[in-house]
Each structure stands twice: as structure tokens, then as C-alpha cells.
């Protein structure tokens, strides 16, 4: 497994706080702006970056992320360019783990072997491929693990104890626990449910468990961070980008700065999380 990811989680453990994992869509609203966003994330307090790969038919995502993918594709983003985005980021940041997240088809068409070579060359640490469950491990998971690339699996409330071992078997880096109703939910998440779910998963693995639950504010991040090894924020960041654009969908004057501000706020929540837990 990549040293960068393990090092980051070890450091966070020593610090006694959960990770802030931030998602954005590669190429949204254009290549240069999204590179600017990516470069601003670590300084704003992001510990791990999830780099979205745009796909025309993101069937497990809500409308906010789907529209981000459409903006990116319209601006000419391709899988090759998303790999290039990561490589450019790596030129100035050698510590922040990058996880690519998306759907399988663009990778399949790109060619699995070529893709994995380019992932390594770009300094990417892990993959989250939404439509590759354990039953499809031969496609990409096994070849990725063989090259030392983390394959991060999603666990959901429907993943029961019987199924968890199969889901966790070839998972590495961390486990990403997603609530299925979290995509559009705006209510403050029920933290007792989350800590129960995290504990259930931890009963089967030593890997860190990060939780994505429609986190929008520092308070959400704090509440979830108290129960998990990491807090994933996606839709809120993508919505912030969308809200900052000009009428014709181009980058606005404060697109990068406003994302940084949002992430800074979330990061204070994450940093306060364990203080709450200890109370």
C-alpha cells in the first residue's frame, strides 16, 4: 500500500484527530481552475484529496455532482487530463494522498494496464470506483493492488455483517462508509447511528474508516469526525464551486478562494472533533 496514505493516517492518529477528505470534480469548471482548487486544498486543511473523474452517466451520484461532471466534460476534460491534473499537483505537493474517484467505463476504454501505469506515474495513491463491487475484483482491483495502488471500497448501510468480509477483503488505504440517504439529506446526521456503523465495520478490519454523510458545515464535520477516522466532504464543495461561477458557467473571480474558505471552515470542525468525543 502506498507509503503516503499510511503515513498520513499515522500522523493523524498521532495528532489525535480525524482526516478531512475533500472531493472535487477534475476539470470543473475548467482544467486550470480545478488545478488551482486542488492546490489550495491542503493549505485550507484538507488531509486527503478525492479527485473526481467525470463520467457522462454517474448513476450513483446526485444532480450536483452530475452537473459538475457535465461542466468538466464540456470544458474538454478527459481521463488523460485528470491524470495530468494529479501529476501537476504532485510537482508541488509530495505529501497529500490523492484518491481518484469515478466510474469504470472511461478506465476500461483507456485500457486498465495503461491506466494503472499512468496512475503510478502521476503519484496517485488510490482508486474508488463506484461501479466495481467485490464481485468484479478481477477487472481492476486485483491488478491495482498488484501494483501497490490502494483500492478503496465503499461500504453502505445495506452491506450487512455477512457481506462485510467480502467487501473488505481486497480493500486497502481506508474504508469509505456512505449513507445512501446522505446525498440530498440536509438534516444534521444522527451521530449515534454513524458511530454504530463505524464500530461495526471496525469489528472486521484495522483500516481507517472515513464517513461521507452529506457533510455541509463545520458542525457536521465535528459531529461525524468524533465517530470516524475521517470525514468526507463532496457535494458541499462541488456546490460551492457551482455557486461561484459566472452566468455562462465559467470560473468566477473568487471560485478558488471561496472553496478554500469553505474547506478552512470544515477543517476547524474536524480539528475540534475529538475534543467533543473526549468530553
Amino acid at each position: 500500500m502506498t507509503a503516503r496514505m499510511d503515513k498520513r493516517f499515522a500522523a493523524l492518529k498521532a495528532e489525535g484527530r480525524p482526516a478531512l477528505v475533500t472531493y472535487f470534480m477534475g476539470g470543473d469548471p475548467d482544467f486550470e481552475t480545478s488545478l488551482g482548487i486542488m492546490k489550495a486544498l491542503p493549505g485550507a486543511g484538507s488531509d486527503i484529496i478525492e479527485l473526481g473523474m467525470p463520467f457522462s452517466d454517474p448513476m450513483a451520484d446526485g444532480p450536483v455532482i452530475q452537473m459538475a461532471g457535465q461542466r468538466a466534460l464540456k470544458a474538454g476534460q478527459t481521463l488523460g487530463k485528470t491524470l495530468e491534473l494529479a501529476a501537476k499537483f504532485r510537482e508541488t505537493d509530495s505529501d497529500t494522498p490523492i484518491v481518484m474517484m469515478g466510474y469504470y467505463n472511461p478506465i476500461y476504454v483507456y485500457g486498465v494496464d495503461k491506466f494503472l501505469d499512468d496512475v503510478l506515474a502521476a503519484g496517485i495513491d488510490g482508486l474508488i470506483i463506484v461501479d466495481l463491487p467485490p464481485e468484479m475484483d478481477d477487472e481492476l482491483c486485483i491488478p491495482a493492488l498488484a501494483k501497490g495502488i490502494n483500492f478503496i471500497r465503499l461500504a453502505t448501510p445495506t452491506t450487512d455483517d455477512k457481506r462485510l468480509p467480502a467487501v473488505l477483503k481486497n480493500t486497502s488505504g481506508f474504508v469509505y462508509y456512505v449513507s445512501m440517504t446522505g446525498i440530498t439529506g440536509s438534516a444534521l446526521p444522527d451521530t449515534t447511528k454513524i458511530s454504530g456503523a463505524v464500530e461495526r465495520i471496525k469489528g472486521h478490519t484495522d483500516l481507517p474508516v472515513c464517513v461521507g454523510f452529506g457533510v455541509k458545515t463545520a458542525d457536521h464535520a465535528k459531529a461525524i469526525g468524533a465517530a470516524a477516522d475521517g470525514v468526507v466532504v463532496g457535494t458541499a464543495i462541488v456546490a460551492q464551486i457551482a455557486g461561484s461561477l459566472t452566468k455562462d458557467g465559467k470560473a468566477g473571480p473568487d471560485t478558488i478562494a471561496s472553496v478554500a474558505t469553505l474547506v478552512k471552515g470544515l477543517s476547524t470542525g474536524v480539528r475540534a472533533a475529538r475534543l467533543v468525543a473526549a468530553e
Binding site: D57, A60, Q66, Y104, V109, P133, T158, T159, M180
Partner: protein, 406 residues
Amino acid sequence: MNQTPIPNSFRSGPDEDGRFGIFGGRFVAETLMPLILELQGEWEKAKNDPAFQAELADLGTHYIGRPSPLYFAERLTEHLGGAKIYFKREELNHTGSHKINNCIGQILLAKRMGKTRIIAETGAGQHGVASATVAARFGFPCVVYMGATDVERQAPNVFRMKLLGAEVIPVTAGNGTLKDAMNEALRDWVTNVDDTYYLIGTAAGPHPYPELVRDFQSVIGKEAREQILAVEGRLPDMVIAAVGGGSNAIGIFHPFLDDEGVQIVGVEAGGRGLQGVEHCASITAGSPGVLHGNRTYLLQDHDGQILEGHSVSAGLDYPGIGPEHSYLHDIGRAEYVPIMDQEALDAFQVLTRLEGIIPALEPSHALAEVIKRAPKMRKDQIIVMNLSGRGDKDIFTVAKILGMDM
């Protein structure tokens, strides 16, 4: 992509992982995996349950109106001057197409599984109407996702669904056609896994859908095979059907796959021509990829982004095709050819005038291929074509194209 060895039987697929050669599979989000496994388990049990099969057969006879006739198209045969042409008249089924065969089967599965809510996607609205129909018959609430573009161009079917008590939700994401409706239905399913059954309308999607839809539609081919043997005392030389997702086609093809002398021809929508992107010929002009839970031939660009197709027939307007068709193509058991919009429209009019049957635009594509092939065949040869739906729903589209006032 010819990695697949020729099997002893062409009817043995899929394997336990839901694969037909390299095609098929279960490419879905983790949230859906437990449901798909549950569905597979329930389907295995239902398949071998005499009570389930008896209820299915009874509804087939008394609700759908099966068996559908195998009709000798005498005047068309005479007109073309070659092979004898038979139609398998699925357009005479309740709701006017083959779609009901699958819907009845799946609603019985949903009932067995204790689900209380039905969702479906629809393009032209035929599957939506069939789903709303069986939901009404069994007392389930039903939500149908339909692209906003299709809602506009298929207004009569939207009204039918509403009459039947279904809620029709227009999907504005993407280009507002069938693939976007399918994405939205999958999102609904991911969100409401506990109580909801997703009634997929075509022989595509994650395993076990391609298999179970095929099995429910295979009644078409089983009947046709018996009927032609009874009338002609022999098997046909050729079986032809239109292919969008491909459920009517796999339904009539499957029982004939191991009959060596029977040529199998699937007809894809060539739209306005194969040079650009205005067609839906996934096999003829696409390449293998992964979408909506299965690997199959897709219309896509070099980056693996899915393209919007075009066809005059909303029912063929889908950028993919069922995985078993991709497999049958790759191993060479079936042949897939394109028919252009204009050829289908011409065939539509020929049938209407010669046989007094108004076909849907989907089987009009198959018919156009029959019109090309029959004259080149001997008079003692036989073609069986699946006349999968009636054309009432298409008269507005056709009137517009022909410049007629309604």
C-alpha cells in the same frame, strides 16, 4: 474481442457471475449488490417453483392473451416474391407490445420478495405503460422515470400511465431520454432499497436482469417454434427482430439458438446514417464498454463517455444493447445489421397498406430488413419476424414526418 470459445450450446449463458463470454456482469454500486443477489436468489427459486410458473402461465393466457398468433403474411409474401413471411403477433398482446410478458413475470417476483413499491424507466412509454398496468393489476404504487424530451414526444403514453395510477417523473438531467431515465431510476433504487422493486424493461442491466427478462420473453420464441412446426412441419430459415435494448429480439431468438439451420438477424436503428452520431447501432458502430450494470457494446467516444443516439423510434433510442446480443454477435451466432429511419418509415407504410396492420416503428425496422432479404430468398424458404408492437403510439410521429395534418 473474439476471446470467447464457441460453446456446446448457445443457450447455456449466463455463467454464475452473470457473464455471456466477456459481456454482462454486475457493475453496480455496493448499495445495490445485496439487492441484486437477493433478486437472483429469489429468481432461482421462482424458476423452479411450479406454483409460480402456473400463475405466470395463467396470467399469460387470460390477462395478456397468449399465445399470440403466428400469422402468414400472404400479400406481403406475394408482393416481395421470395421467402414466405410469418409474423409473430406480439402487437396483439394486452397493452400492445411484448413488454407485458416481462412485466407480468417481474411483478410476480416483486410480490414474492415482499416489495411494496415499483419503479421503472421508459423511453417510448411502452414499458412504462406495461409497468403501470401490472402495478394497477397487483395494487402496487408505481413511479415511472421518463426523459423530459420523451415525455413531450410521447404524450399519449404519459396520459395512459397516469390513468393507470402511475406517477410519471420527467427527467431533465442529461439530454432527457431513456438513458437518463435509467440513471434516475437507479438513483431512486439506491435511495429506497428497502421497499422498492426496480422493474427493468429490457434484457440489459446487472445480472440477473438480462437473464430473467430473456426468460420471461422467451415465451415468444417457444410459441413461434411450436407454431411454425405445426404449420410448416419444419423450422424457419431465418428469424428477424428489431433490437434496441433487445428484449423482444432475445425473446424470439433464444429458443432457436441451437437450431443450426436457423439464421438469426437482429436489426439495429441506423437513424440518419452510421457516419456521425445520429444512430443507435451499438453493435454495428459502437464498441464494448460498461454502462448500467453490464459490459456490452455501447455508443461512446474515445474517452469512454456515453453518446446520445438517435432513432425515429423512441423504443430503439438507447446507446447500449443487452449483453447476450453482444455475445451472440462476437461468437458469430447472430448477425446484426442497421436499418435507417427512412427505410423503417417506408416499411411501416408498406405493411399498413398490404396487410392492414399498423406496426410500431421498432418492428418496422425488422420489417425493412425482411423487405430487403425476402426477394433474394427461394419461395420455399421461411422467415419469421417478431412484430413486437402496434403502431398506434407512433401515428403522431409518422404524421409529422409525412407532413400530414391530424
